[in-house]
């Protein structure tokens, strides 16, 4: 019998939360990459290492989550709970996607305006900023929603 924390629905929630952390790490990686366009050589060397750590952290977490998902759930449980969109966590993901899309659109419009005025920065920079905003807003919004959802249960329950 599953314990409360190993119930498939709880595992699916935790999987989504870890995925959110991985997205934030990748967003930070792109933010660092974009910053490196404006830093001097010594700072760039430090940021280069930070970028590598963030990239490895994000990729490692995604890999760990995928392996964990395969081990923790049977194929039918995976199908039932990861295809199921009837949960607060899925709604949080949807809301985060909407915020991410809106702010990325604004960021792209802003970048497009500045791109006309500068030849100093490569196209890489604009792509990195767009990706950092896209993933960063998604990750932050998701975590704000999850944090605000509270975890005040079962203190008053004596069942």
């Amino acid at each position: 019998m599953n314990t409360a924390s190993s119930h498939p629905a709880e595992l699916a929630d935790r999987h989504a939360s870890l995925f959110g952390i991985a997205v934030l790490l990748v967003a930070l990686k792109f933010a660092v990459s974009a910053t490196m366009h404006f830093t001097d050589a010594p700072t760039t060397a430090i940021l280069d290492k930070a970028e590598l750590v963030l990239a490895l952290g994000g990729a490692g977490l995604v890999l760990a989550v995928l392996v964990w998902k395969r081990r923790a759930l049977t194929p039918s449980q995976r199908h039932a709970y990861f295809a199921d969109r009837d949960s607060f966590v899925f709604e949080a993901i949807q809301r985060a996607r909407i915020s991410s899309w809106n702010l990325t659109f604004l960021a792209l419009i802003t970048l497009e305006i500045f791109a006309d005025d500068t030849d100093r920065v490569s196209a890489d920079f604009f792509v990195q900023v767009a990706l950092a905003v896209l993933l960063g807003v998604f990750g932050l919004k998701f975590f704000v929603l999850m944090r605000d959802s509270g975890d005040e249960d079962d203190g008053d329950d004596d069942a």
């Binding site: 409360a4 119930h7 629905a9 709880e10 699916a12 929630d13 009837d86 949960s87 607060f88 966590v89 709604e91 605000d148 959802s149 509270g150 975890d151 005040e152 249960d153 079962d154 329950d157 004596d158 069942a159």
Partner: protein, 78 residues
């Protein structure tokens, strides 16, 4: 404040049955966070979840969930 708000009495029914949010969540196959956010009105459940909760407690769904504010009804229009 929105014109219509979904309120619910899940906490009351849970207390009557001496159940935790985790117990109810497992009984209807959702996560505890889903139940806790429904209870505090942060997450509006799907019709399927609302019906599952009502069926679990053996009560009509209107007894557990209700909508604030006036909504036109075809029954009162004639």
């Amino acid at each position: 404040m929105p014109e219509h708000e979904l309120t619910n009495r899940i906490r009351v029914f849970r207390a009557e049955h001496r159940m935790s949010q985790t117990d109810l969540a497992r009984a209807i196959g959702v996560s505890r966070k889903t139940i806790s956010t429904i209870e505090v009105g942060r997450f509006v459940p799907s019709t399927v979840i609302a019906l599952k909760i009502a069926r679990y407690f053996g009560r009509p769904v209107e007894e557990i969930f209700s909508l604030t504010g006036d909504v036109p009804s075809i029954a009162t229009e004639d």
